[in-house]
Amino acid sequence: MENNRFELNKNLAQMLKGGVIMDVTTPEQAKIAEAAGACAVMALERIPADIRAAGGVSRMSDPKMIKGIQNAVSIPVMAKCRIGHFAEAQILQAIEIDYIDESEVLSPADDKYHIDKTKFDVPFVCGAKDLGEALRRINEGASMIRTKGEPGTGDVVQAVRHMRMMQSEIRRIASMADDELFDVAKQLQVPYDLVLYVHENKKLPVVNFAAGGVATPADAALMMQLGAEGVFVGSGIFKSGNPEKRAAAIVKAVTNFTDAKMLAELSEDLGEAMVGINEQEIQLLMAERGK
């Protein structure tokens, strides 16, 4: 086996499993996140709730701001680029980011093509709302998948829908006859090899996290019990009344996600959760970006 970047990049995602990746906008927030037990941070100028509120075109963050966060913490640092914006991705690679999130949270730069992620040495995580999207992103070189959910809403309903959809499609493919897999590849518009992998291993070929709308320890435990291997928390922490306490509680909830007694203790006295908005009140569905 040679020095295979895709393997090494998948391996980094394996090390993040069972962990919580937190959105941070300043070095101070990054330090709070690290101290609370984040396994990585996502550096961005505005958290999704504020992006949603501000409207307008949302782009990659200032590299200087990202570097400030890289210098503040010892855990991996991720950053977002726009869907299809390979020049932003090149910039993020140049500053040695640990993971690039080609993210629907930012305004898409290309309404047809995603980035050819096989051309990069740094790893990519991409959002998906079903198995087809997940496998298409993996085929393009993504080494980690997360549900899209609906970022910045504090409403977990879409992340649940996407995780359930992925898991049920995986179960369906796992139970199929070998000769039925060719047609699945055609329907999902993905290579047969990836469908075969799912059929044989009953899971995605890369790590799969939950993201979008996770705001409480109970939300995190719900997503883990639905099959997530870890959790992204965006606006849910620093839009809440007591970020330190809520962040630490979510970290522990992800480790002991089936222990209801512990979850009850963790859910006590967390202060105000982010207000959030319901699905019906949303003007802009970010999950519909990039398919």
């Binding site: 090494l8 090390m15 962990g19 037990g37």
Partner: protein
């Protein structure tokens, strides 16, 4: 023989799969009551040492595990696990179990772009695959700690009595020899 795997965060399932391939029963330690099970050895997996270090303290696992290791429980730490066992971490004020006479350097190869794969000699085993992910290395070993492998002049595996550490991830490759080596350590400790 039964081996416990610390399952607070990181790549613990991969270790469980290696043990399964060796027909060794294993179980996960996620909280204090899991320590009530009988076990003969402990694996501390890769992941983030800051996260695992914090969780094991808050979940009251720190004291009992440290005491067990000091009393001779065979323990195998990979990557973050190495950092949790090191007495000294050169670029981090936080130490954790601090039971092993090694000085480690955290994120010694830099960020993810510095992650790499190689093959190198390991103790008496021979050449083995080594996957390094944002890995540490060992700057010095002292006392009765012994270096078992080196890559580019840096120590990447060591043993001190009942404690085995690797900076790389044997659980990410197909080669079972390091896990078998640890199983032998466990076997000879429990026959004493």
């Amino acid at each position: 023989m039964r081996i416990a795997v610390l399952a607070l965060q990181g790549a613990f399932i991969e270790h469980e799969q290696m043990l399964k391939r060796l027909d060794i029963p294993s179980f996960e330690i996620r909280q204090k009551r899991d320590l009530d099970n009988d076990f003969d050895g402990l694996i501390i997996p890769g992941g983030e040492s800051t996260v695992q270090g914090k969780l094991m303290r808050e979940l009251d696992l720190y004291d009992p595990i440290k005491e067990a290791v000091e009393k001779g429980l065979p323990v195998f730490g990979t990557c973050a696990g190495l950092l949790l066992l090191a007495k000294k971490i050169k670029n981090d004020d936080r130490v954790h179990f601090a039971t092993m006479d090694i000085t480690a350097v955290r994120n010694a190869y830099g960020r993810q772009l510095g992650s790499f794969y190689t093959e190198s000699e390991f103790g008496c085993i021979g050449k083995i695959p080594m996957t390094f992910i944002r890995a540490p290395y060992i700057e010095t070993v002292s006392g009765s700690a012994e270096a078992l492998a080196a890559v580019d002049g840096h120590i990447v595996a060591a043993r001190q009595g009942n404690q085995l550490v690797t900076a790389f991830h044997p659980e990410l490759n197909d080669d079972l020899r390091i896990h078998r080596y640890f199983a032998d350590m466990v076997r000879s400790a429990s026959s004493k």
